[in-house]
Point group: C2
Chain length 285, copies 2
């Protein structure tokens, strides 16, 4: 049994930067909290908690727990929340991914230029909630093939960084015929696109896929969905402990990939567990 | 035999305005010339010539023929030519269609904003030649599914006013994945789109289509091509004299449409000729 591990599996640039800095902050300070989970990976949150970084789910909770330093997570937070944190006097460590920060900036710019701002993304995702606050009133969030709002004569589009490029291609082609002027900031992060592309290649050559990452991680779930859409047997797990030997009976080639919020040590654990089940590692390309 | 005449057949707003003003100019002045044909319809050009409006094909020819007043045609002319006309001291009557004028303005604006300007259109068409001059060096002209140039990080798109919206939808969806910022001015004239839509509806209900207009008229040719693509027997004619009775043997319903540069009197002549062949008129909707 061969285990093919994707080169692009695991932490993206923005997450790596944030997690490194969060551990660094924990070493130097007391009373450190993140506002909401720093990334969508329970194991990383637990590891940070062991180092003294708590999770508070609201500004009220931060105050109750007498937080000194507040870490702003990679997905970003709404503008009003950021302003309130400053006003409340917390020391801020803003670990919003620089690419998300850029998307927030463009959402604000489009609003200031008088555009009807349209966000391609998932309205429930924290990144999109942040973007919406920068886009101001009248913002519309559209996901995939959903119905469009009434399009005005000047439309501005900004994209949740983890959206697939195919969704953006479709959206701009649907909007352009209803508007006189359309400005698009393609804020899709190439790391997501590249990981999806690699995952597709790995999955096409595999008998089964193991996708590692938080069940609450949108981009990990997206990887798992992609594999399923290719009719490859797919297992989305968070830790090596979930693996079952019987999944891999009669399997010759297992593909292994992981979301942007999955740390290397978890990928390594899964890989080792698969080796113990008789797998031999093959690096992808 | 029924003859169904499209409501949207014939002169569009920009052409009607230009032809009315050209005849008006001919009544009041001597030595009036258009630089290139004012529209792509030989019969209209001849009618204007009878009123004393000549056609000169270059600035040299205008000088040779001692033109006093120069009419700039509906498709517009390159910026440099416009500047030379002013410098040479001709009295200018600028009958560029206001929608084309707007597209020229946007091409210039995109260039000034530092965009790589991409024009969706036909490089050989005078309107596009005009647009290119406003877009400056480095402009790329793309038509339909043609290969794209190397796309830069800031792309600006402007459209020949008579292009079909489907071509624009495809183009924006092809470009957006290669750029960080894309600004699109949808300068497609709705009159063209509406005429195409109506023509399709008429053609779907007809046994044969007669499309009237200059053989050198891009938008008339586009109407004829559309009808052919629907597998309806299609005749593209310039005047009633070209009609042949045998074309309509066994035909019950003839559709009649005309390009934006076809005057009403020619459409009327064709309609009357069809009536003489036994047709009875049915207005579309």
């Amino acid at each position: 049994m061969k285990v093919v591990v994707g080169n692009k599996a695991g932490f993206c640039f923005g997450v790596k930067r944030a997690i490194d800095m969060a551990f660094e902050t924990a070493r130097n300070r007391k009373g450190v909290y993140t506002l909401g989970p720093i990334i969508h990976n329970p194991q990383v949150i637990e590891a940070l908690e062991r180092e003294g970084v708590g999770v508070a789910n609201s500004i009220g909770e931060l105050k109750d727990r007498k937080a000194g330093t507040v870490i702003v997570r990679t997905h970003g937070i709404p503008m009003e929340e950021m302003q309130r944190l400053v006003k409340e006097g917390f020391e801020l460590i803003d670990l919003t991914c620089p690419y998300v920060k850029k998307a927030q900036h463009y959402a604000k710019l489009l609003k200031e230029e008088g555009c009807q701002v349209i966000i391609l993304g998932d309205m429930e995702h924290p990144e999109v909630k942040g973007l919406m606050s920068y886009a101001g009133k009248g913002v519309a969030v559209v996901r995939g093939d959903q119905e469009l709002p009434q399009i005005k004569s000047k439309a501005g589009i900004v994209v949740q960084t983890t959206q697939p490029v195919e969704a953006l291609k479709k959206l701009v082609s649907r909007i352009v015929e209803h508007t006189k002027e359309m400005k698009v900031y393609n804020t899709i992060c190439s790391s997501t696109a590249l990981r999806l592309k690699e995952t597709e290649e790995v999955a096409r050559g595999a008998d089964a896929m193991v996708v590692v990452g938080g069940r609450n991680s949108a981009n990990t779930t997206q990887l798992a969905r992609l594999c399923e859409s290719l009719s490859v047997r797919t297992y989305h797990i968070e830790t090596a402990g979930e693996l079952k030997e019987e999944w891999f009976e009669k399997v010759e080639k297992i593909g292994l990939t992981a979301g942007a919020s999955t740390p290397d040590w978890i990928i390594k654990e899964v890989e080792n567990a698969l080796k113990e089940m008789g797998g031999s590692k093959n690096k992808w390309k």
